[in-house]
């Protein structure tokens, strides 16, 4: 029963670590490799992320999100910090590879984690530009400037797509509706 893993860790059950790695090891490893694009840095990051997960296990609230989403959120915070700290610059070859990836298909949806399928559907409801900006920034860890350089979009447009796309995805996924959204159609 995966919902109990973080609670068990918070209670000091070290045996739950094995279950945690089995359930979320692949998720964290995949996020780290995609965002850092360097296996050595990714390995260091994954170790740090799991320690962070154990430290924050008691803060997990199943009403707000699934365990996988909570673990991914902690992982992304650490990975974003690492990217900002290292001033990483993505190579042109890597950018071409990223941009060549198919934006979304039902076949691809079937290959992702169960927890990612709803988000996959939510992304498919966004405008293509918004979806592309969100995937490049969130999945691949590109900065807005890197996205602007790679796609030819003005920087301001990239920022607008990121913000509107994220807020719309939040509404579709049903996370936090307390902050009103005042958006106008483009």
């Amino acid at each position: 029963m995966t919902q109990a893993i973080l609670q068990r860790i918070a209670d000091g059950d070290q045996n739950a670590v094995q279950d945690c790695l089995k359930a979320y090891g692949g998720l964290v490893w995949s996020l780290a490799r995609r965002m850092l694009r360097n296996n050595e840095e990714a390995e260091d990051a994954v170790q740090e992320i799991f320690i962070e997960v154990w430290k924050n296990a008691s803060r997990f609230d199943p009403v707000l999100a699934s365990e996988a989403t909570f673990v991914a959120m902690i992982a992304r915070r650490r990975l974003i910090d690492k990217i900002r700290f290292s001033q990483r610059r993505i190579s042109a070859d890597s950018l071409e590879d990223i941009l060549a990836e198919p934006a979304g298909s039902s076949e691809k949806e079937m290959q992702v984690l169960v927890e990612g399928r709803e988000a996959f559907k939510a992304l498919s409801e966004l405008r293509p530009e918004q979806r592309q900006v969100l995937q490049l920034s969130i999945v691949h860890g590109l900065s807005h400037q890197e996205i602007a350089d790679a796609t030819g979009m003005p920087l301001g447009t990239v920022k607008t797509h990121a913000r509107r796309g994220l807020l719309q995805a939040r509404e579709i996924l049903g996370y936090g509706k307390d902050i009103s959204i005042k958006e106008v159609a483009v």
Partner: protein
């Protein structure tokens, strides 16, 4: 929260969720957060970004074995430190009215305390340190009467006083010597006076 603040909050939350914030932006977010009602879920955009990130994670991805082993080793260290931090400290505060030491135990301690006090007093009384520098306490002695007084007392108390005047002698230089001598046979005590 006014509309402008709300917009700025959304800007910062979106940026934090997608690309992270600079230290200045983080401070600004913390300041803005102080004005937000508690019902607002500030993590919702980060959770949305996390969900989007998961949309691209292949189900087949698995942690490499050597990395898993490294994390398990870290877990040993982490939980050992946690257990050490959470273990109850030795308490020195005892619940009032309760004692874990039996009466015999207290008796032993009381005897030891009394012995220590006795030893301390004994050491104090017999101490030799700096004794040489300590002046002896002066003992008041009875005032010895002067020879004149003693002569007067003898004259007043002895019934058989023999008294004689010194006569002028023939020693050159001391012809003017005068005085007397008194003697009591019963008290075997006498005094001589000289003048000149």
């Amino acid at each position: 929260m006014n509309e402008q603040t709300e917009e700025r909050l959304l800007d910062l939350l979106c940026k934090r969720a997608v690309n992270g914030l600079t230290s200045e932006e983080l401070k600004e977010l913390q300041a803005v957060e102080q004005t937000v009602e508690s019902s607002v879920d500030l993590n919702s955009l980060e959770m949305t970004a996390a969900a989007i990130a998961m949309s691209a994670v292949p189900a087949s991805d698995a942690l490499p074995d050597h990395l898993k082993a490294g994390i398990l080793a870290k877990a040993d260290e982490y939980f050992a430190a946690q257990n050490k931090a959470n273990s109850p400290a030795v308490t020195t505060v005892r619940e009032a009215g309760k004692s874990s030491i039996p009466i015999w135990g207290w008796l032993g301690w009381a005897t030891a305390a009394a012995a220590l006090i006795f030893l301390a007093l004994n050491l104090y009384e017999t101490r030799t340190v700096d004794r040489a520098n300590v002046s002896p306490t002066p003992i008041p002695l009875p005032q010895k009467p002067s020879p004149g007084t003693m002569r007067e007392q003898l004259l007043a108390s002895a019934p058989d006083i023999v008294k004689a005047e010194w006569g002028p002698g023939n020693v050159k230089g001391v012809e003017s010597l005068a005085g007397d001598v008194v003697w009591s046979e019963t008290k075997q005590e006498g005094y001589m006076r000289f003048r000149g």
